[in-house]
């Protein structure tokens, strides 16, 4: 498809990258970029890090483009409906736009605090977009007595780190056994928990928040361990929900867990059949990564958004008999508490973990993750520059534990059981 009209629904990283890819691959028709937020596309990872700790303003996050996209930007207008038969997208302002091609890149939103009255208290925050970050930053600047972070996933842990950098006392309540364990595994999560505590974070695992209290402003929080905390700010970091509501009834296979596509990014209908000229990319896309024998899942990673968008743009323009597929291994990073955490593959699938370089107690380390005797992932802490080697091991399905024998490799100890 080189002419006609392509709508990219979603104007964040995946949407922008898809628009770039469409133009780079020779699409000369009308390109419409629809975004729910009023802002030009911007980069989200700094929101919980440098933005919160005050190093970077939210006006400094715009994503760069390498070319003039010549795109009509409809910003501040969410897509609210899709009619596949008529090939039309409905917008929040009532407009209806026809399309020849569509890229669904509407991303995800923060999972809200379940009790609406408590969520409405001043001082209770979500963190997903730049307006959230500005509001939270303003509250943190007032010097709250204590910040409660609800949920110790990546966002929660990074928020805790940024608040710690600001000199604020922080409590993290985390339902699981260790922070970020759902992505990194319990063992590595436990190592990071120890390092967070060493920074003075009041980290409570196996603990949930049972109530947020106050008149109009947050004053107290009750925890499942029976404790009651005086807090002025709570950051609800309970994960995200894919923005699929607008696809309801469209015929696409989409539900609260994501919108289904194949590794080429092609949207699937409820029968699993490919829907022509409709592609899905980024946080909203649920798919089965071709390398792993695992259930379809969403990959809410920066690199995945870009890779899927590039593939979608290529396939949509060229419609090749053998479409390109996203084959890059899942990878993500986090910066917190002076730790650079990088992951390759799918460590959370592991049934065995081995420390392959460095030491869990101090300094940098790399842990390899295995499942059924095959290397499926690795996590590097303050050792980002060796991960390509581990990616090669995952790609070639190397036996686990892999032989590294590096100068900083310890004697091998394999930790059995779910990671």
């Amino acid at each position: 498809m080189r002419s006609g009209r392509i709508i990219v629904a979603g104007a964040s990283l995946a949407g922008l990258a898809a628009a770039e890819s469409l133009r780079a691959n020779g699409f000369t028709g009308e390109l419409v970029l629809v975004g729910a937020e009023p802002h030009e596309p911007y980069d989200r990872p700094p929101l919980s890090k440098t933005v919160l700790s005050g190093w970077l303003g939210t006006d400094r996050l715009l994503l760069p483009t390498t070319r003039n996209l010549n795109a009509r930007r409809l910003l501040g207008v969410a897509a609210t409906g899709l009619d596949l038969a008529a090939r039309e997208v409905r917008l929040a302002d009532g407009r209806v736009l026809g399309f020849d091609g569509l890229v669904v890149a509407t991303g995800a939103r923060a999972r809200p605090w379940p009790v609406a009255q408590e969520a409405a208290l001043r001082g209770v925050h979500l963190l997903r977009d730049r307006d959230d970050a500005d509001r939270l930053r303003a509250d943190l600047a007032e010097g709250p007595r204590r910040v409660l972070v609800v949920g110790g996933g990546f966002t929660g842990s990074e928020v805790a780190s940024s608040c710690h950098d600001l000199g604020l006392p922080v409590t993290v309540a985390h339902r699981g056994a260790a922070p970020m364990a759902s992505a990194l595994g319990d063992l590595v999560g436990g190592v990071i928990a120890a390092r967070q505590r060493a920074h003075g974070i009041d980290l409570r695992v196996h603990t949930t928040v049972t109530a947020l209290e106050g008149e109009s402003r947050l004053r107290r929080a009750r925890l499942s361990d029976g404790d009651e905390l005086d807090v002025d700010v709570a950051v609800v970091a309970l994960g995200s929900l894919p923005n699929t509501g607008w696809l309801a009834g469209s015929g696409l296979a989409a539900d609260a867990g994501g919108a289904d596509c194949d590794p080429a990014g092609r949207a699937l209908d409820r029968t699993g059949a490919i829907v022509p000229d409709v592609y899905i990319a980024g946080d909203v896309a649920r798919w089965r990564h071709p390398h792993f024998d695992a259930a379809p899942q969403t990959f809410e990673h920066w690199g995945n958004a870009v890779a899927q968008a590039e593939v979608a743009g290529y396939n949509l323009v060229h419609a090749p008999a053998n479409p390109r597929r996203t084959t890059a291994l899942p990878a993500f990073w986090s910066d917190q508490f002076g730790l650079n955490i990088k992951s390759i593959g799918l460590p959370h699938l592991a049934d065995e973990v081995a420390l392959t370089q460095g030491s869990f107690d101090r300094g940098p380390f790399v842990a390899a993750h295995g499942r059924n005797g095959i290397t499926v992932g690795a996590v590097a802490v303050n050792s980002p520059r060796v991960l390509d080697g581990y990616a090669a091991l995952v790609t070639e399905r190397a036996p686990f534990p892999p032989t590294i024998n590096a100068t900083d490799s310890p004697d091998l100890v394999v930790h059995k059981g779910p990671s």
Binding site: D388, A391, D408
Partner: protein, 407 residues
């Protein structure tokens, strides 16, 4: 048994081919990896080199000499951190970075002034050897400034740099005399540095040596070795970058015209020089485990030669790889290596290269090569012209209304 790759590789090492090794790189590039001898492999594929540079199963260090002096980790010193593995590599590199990076951040104006001063010596029609006139003195001045060494010491540094650089070449290209000279040069280098170090021990200044002494944890042996590394790696490489870049611009006058018309092109020009004709020609590793590379398994303990220029001209990665084309998109060359040993001075090299090539393009009127190819220094690993004689109609004064170098 002889392996087919050994023949073109020998030609690469041969000084007679130093001016143009690229046909042999191309010949070797038919396969991404092949055997050179029973325990040595060469890798020419961009993707393969790129991954191997970031693979912990490739060690950069040699067997330790038990007679060597003791380092700050209580173990025998293995040489500069470029040739060490983590964890001690990381400690030494971090200490060096901590002193190096803040000191180079503000250096661009100083570098541009130095370039201008060096070119101001020429007026009217004439000739210059770009190596002697600019490529050598610029990085020496910069490194002396960094180390807090007075300008009159620059010739001494120049001489040490040239002599120590031979140490990096494959040992089979060195004569016995050269090996003996190297041992002596290293001893002289330590002798030269020790008084400089002890002066700073009693009265530290604001320079990098003082910083490493007072804030780092290096002992004196590690310090002299690290300073030798900074001298060679930060100096000889930049000489070649500037000389190779000048050569490329004069061989491609349409690029030179585009650079003159658009000074903002200079960062891309420097990146393309780094891809097309990189100063560092190879880096070697040893496998610590069996490693699969493309369709081969390199057994543990074998030597792996990563031919960076071959990767930079891998046709699977770069379209028209022999073409010098600064506007090339996504120029992910391998000139600075990658992984834990990624060039510590990359930012400084870029600044120096951009300042030098930007000024040459802006100021030389009608420059042309007097000898093409120019004569090359014997060094294989850090490859570059011994001299680069050019003629010109004039060296114009810099345009002071506009910044010379952008980016």
């Amino acid at each position: 048994m002889t392996y087919p790759a050994a023949v073109p590789y020998r030609r690469l090492l041969d000084h007679a081919n130093r001016h143009n090794p690229y046909p042999y790189f191309a010949e070797l590039a038919g396969k991404p990896i092949q055997r050179l001898d029973e325990h040595t492999w060469i890798v020419t594929g961009h993707a393969e080199i790129s991954v191997l540079l970031r693979d912990p199963r490739l060690s950069a260090q040699d067997e330790v000499d038990p007679r060597a002096s003791t380092g700050s980790d209580g173990k025998p010193v293995r040489g500069p951190f470029l040739m060490q593995d983590p964890p001690h590599h990381d400690t030494l590199r971090e200490q060096t970075m901590h002193q190096f990076v803040p000191r180079i951040l503000g250096m661009r104006p100083h570098i541009e002034t130095t370039v201008a001063r060096l070119l101001d010596r020429y007026v009217g029609p004439g000739e210059m050897d770009v190596v002697e006139a600019l490529a050598y003195p610029l990085p020496v001045a910069v490194i002396c400034e960094l180390l807090g060494v007075p300008a009159e010491e620059e010739p001494v540094f120049h001489s040490f740099a040239a002599r120590l650089t031979r140490a990096l070449d494959p040992v089979e290209t060195l004569t016995e005399q050269e090996v003996a000279d190297l041992v002596e040069t290293r001893a002289e280098w330590r002798k030269y540095l020790l008084p400089m170090i002890s002066r700073r021990q009693t009265g530290p200044g604001t320079d990098l040596i003082s910083g490493l002494l007072t804030e780092g944890g290096m002992n004196t042996v590690e310090l002299t070795i690290t300073l030798g590394l900074l001298l060679i790696a930060g100096h000889e490489t930049t000489v070649n970058l500037i000389a190779n870049g000048t050569l490329a611009l004069l061989r491609n006058p349409e690029v030179l015209d585009r650079l003159r018309a658009d000074p903002d092109l200079v960062p891309s020009v420097v990146e393309e020089v780094l891809r097309h004709d990189p100063p560092v020609q190879q880096t070697n590793r040893r496998t610590t485990a069996d490693v699969r590379v493309a369709d081969r398994i390199v057994p543990a303990g074998d030597k792996v030669v990563l031919l960076l220029p071959a990767g930079n001209r891998d046709p699977r990665r770069f379209a028209d790889p022999d073409q010098f084309w600064p506007e090339r998109p996504n120029n992910t060359h391998l000139a600075f290596g990658g992984g834990v040993h990624y060039c510590l001075g990359a930012a400084l090299a870029r600044m120096e290269g951009q300042a030098a090539l930007g000024a040459l393009a802006a100021r030389l009127a009608n420059p042309r090569l007097i000898a093409d190819p120019p004569p090359y220094r014997p060094n294989m690993l850090l490859r570059g012209p011994a001299e680069l004689r050019i003629a010109f109609d004039d060296v114009t004064k810099p345009d002071t209304r506009l910044p010379q170098v952008a980016g």
